[in-house]
């Protein structure tokens, strides 16, 4: 087993994950429109290919062929950096997500994870907070009041909700005792999913995830009733496409993070039995399939909520973040501390 083979496998894995996240984002746009249509008793896109399955390609082609506009008074360099940064930070988040158990093919063991760094959760947080820079730089460089307002909203919203997101994660880390995504996933073997031990923490996390990905009901940065297009008002062509794409990749990544941290990742009840019967080459792939079912369910939930809840007003958003979520997250930490202490000292 040479190190060249390892590197090639790693590069292949990175490519596969990159392609999968792009395809997931592409088809999220299609799914979003289809799901929206079903929720509103409509049919949705059905012209491009059977059931409109080629719609994302048509949209992509349209985006590439549209006129590229850089406003005269915009800062050209930053104007281009904005969407690039948005899509870059969206894509690199997937590096620490464990997609499945270690596969063994012909004596080679393949980790279905790009890298298992021991601060995986922190890495995800760092990348997520970088994500807002793309929005901020793009909105600010546009030199447009609506873009600027959208960018400011995005920044303040992300900062406010990152606090409660971090606090809700602290309660989880108190139980897991590790920051490595792989270890957190392994601890939830079979049905021991963290959501059973951290229900409140999960609710806080998912609310914050909605806010971090700028999804309804927290889509104030691109609130079209007030801000035209929000931070991407001045964007056209594929630069706009990158912003929209980044949103969907973010949705995919945060669904994967939620599934890993709280819903057991690639673990499912009865996995040992399945693994023993299918062997170490096929068994982990079933785990990957289960993981993707969880991710897709979360993406569906994102869309379901989008067509259910109206947008928050800005003051309501701040009220919810600072006066409700943060106190709840702190209470959750205290309760988790008391609970785990009682559990270890008295054994019930």
């Amino acid at each position: 087993m040479g190190s060249t083979a390892d590197i090639l496998i790693k590069i292949g894995l990175i490519l596969i994950i990159f392609v999968i996240s792009l395809v997931m984002a592409m088809y999220s746009t299609y799914a979003e429109r289809k799901v929206a249509a079903f929720f509103q008793d409509r049919i949705g896109p059905n012209r491009a290919g059977p059931w409109g399955i080629l719609q994302p390609l048509a949209d992509g082609g349209k985006m590439f062929l549209k006129e590229e506009i850089i406003p005269t008074n915009a800062t050209p360099f930053l104007f281009i950096v904005g969407p690039s940064l948005a899509i870059l930070t969206a894509c690199i988040g997937s590096a620490v997500i464990p997609w499945g158990q270690t596969m063994v093919i012909g004596g080679h063991s393949i980790d279905l994870q790009v890298t298992d760094i021991n601060v995986g959760v922190l890495y995800i947080f760092g990348v997520v907070s970088l994500g807002v820079y793309g929005v901020m730089i793009g909105g600010w460089a546009s030199n447009n009041k609506y873009s600027l307002l959208g960018a400011i909203r995005a920044a303040s919203q992300n900062i406010s909700y990152e606090i409660s997101m971090g606090l809700s994660i602290i309660a989880l880390l108190m139980l897991t005792g590790t920051l490595s995504m792989r270890e957190i996933a392994e601890q939830q073997h079979s049905w021991h999913w963290n959501v059973l031990r951290q229900p409140l923490g999960f609710i806080l996390f998912i609310v914050c995830a909605f806010a971090e990905t700028n999804r309804t009901p927290f889509d104030l940065p691109e609130c079209e009733t007030e801000l035209v297009g929000g931070y991407h008002t001045e964007y056209s062509s594929m630069k706009l496409g990158f912003y929209l794409f980044a949103e969907y990749i973010n949705m995919f990544i945060s669904s994967a993070v939620m599934a890993t941290l709280y819903w057991g990742g690639y673990n499912y009840p009865g996995m040992d039995w399945v693994l023993a019967h299918t062997g170490p080459a096929i068994g982990p792939l079933i785990g990957v399939g289960v993981f993707f079912i969880k991710i897709i369910s979360f993406i569906f939930f994102f869309m379901w909520v989008r067509w259910t809840i109206p947008r928050f007003r800005y003051d309501q958003l701040m009220d919810l973040g600072w006066k409700i979520l943060i106190p709840l997250a702190i209470a959750n930490i205290v309760l988790t501390g008391i609970g785990s202490t009682l559990l270890t000292h008295f054994g019930f």
Binding site: F38, F39, D41, W304, V305, I309
Partner: protein
């Protein structure tokens, strides 16, 4: 003042109770409502392939009628053009020549008959004004087109298809 109809309702604005302020119960019931719609049959009619049924008195594109022998009924009296509030109808009359008796019912007929579909408001007054029962708005929706000139429909588009020879 005393209400005459007794339909007046005084609404009270009550402060929200805890369950309402907690967002989540309301959101869950909202999610249930949207999920119910998810499994409902779509009400969409895929237009060019399927068409919605028109009501009996729907007024669509005009057609110039023929009588039971396949002769054009219109005698170019101009009452339709006169009654038209949008001034969408114009026509040029001509005299029927010997040998054309099987084409036109009356001795005078419309050599040119044009309706500007962009002006027409589909009120049906031409239909009411016609003494010869020659024009009816019993057609389909007027289709879209690219140029304004193509919306001026002549006799080629308006006159009913001839009877089977």
């Amino acid at each position: 003042m005393e209400s005459l109809s007794n339909k007046k309702k005084v609404l009270e604005v009550k402060p929200l109770n805890f369950m309402e302020r907690a967002y989540l119960p309301a959101i869950v019931s909202g999610l249930a409502t949207t999920m119910k719609h998810f499994f409902k049959k779509p009400v969409t009619i895929s237009y060019p392939e399927e068409k919605r049924e028109f009501s009996e008195n729907f007024r669509g594109m005009h057609s110039l009628k023929r009588d039971e022998n396949g002769k054009e009924r219109c005698t170019a009296c101009g009452l339709c053009a006169l009654s038209c509030p949008a001034e969408a109808i114009t026509m040029t009359a001509a005299e029927r020549q010997p040998g054309e008796e099987n084409l036109y019912r009356e001795e005078k007929y419309a050599a040119v008959y044009e309706i500007n579909m962009l002006r027409c408001i589909f009120c049906g007054l031409c239909e009411e004004a016609c003494p010869k029962e020659a024009i009816y708005l019993d057609g389909d929706i007027v289709p879209a087109d690219y140029l304004r000139k193509d919306f001026i429909y002549g006799k080629d588009k308006l006159v009913e298809a001839p009877l089977n020879q």
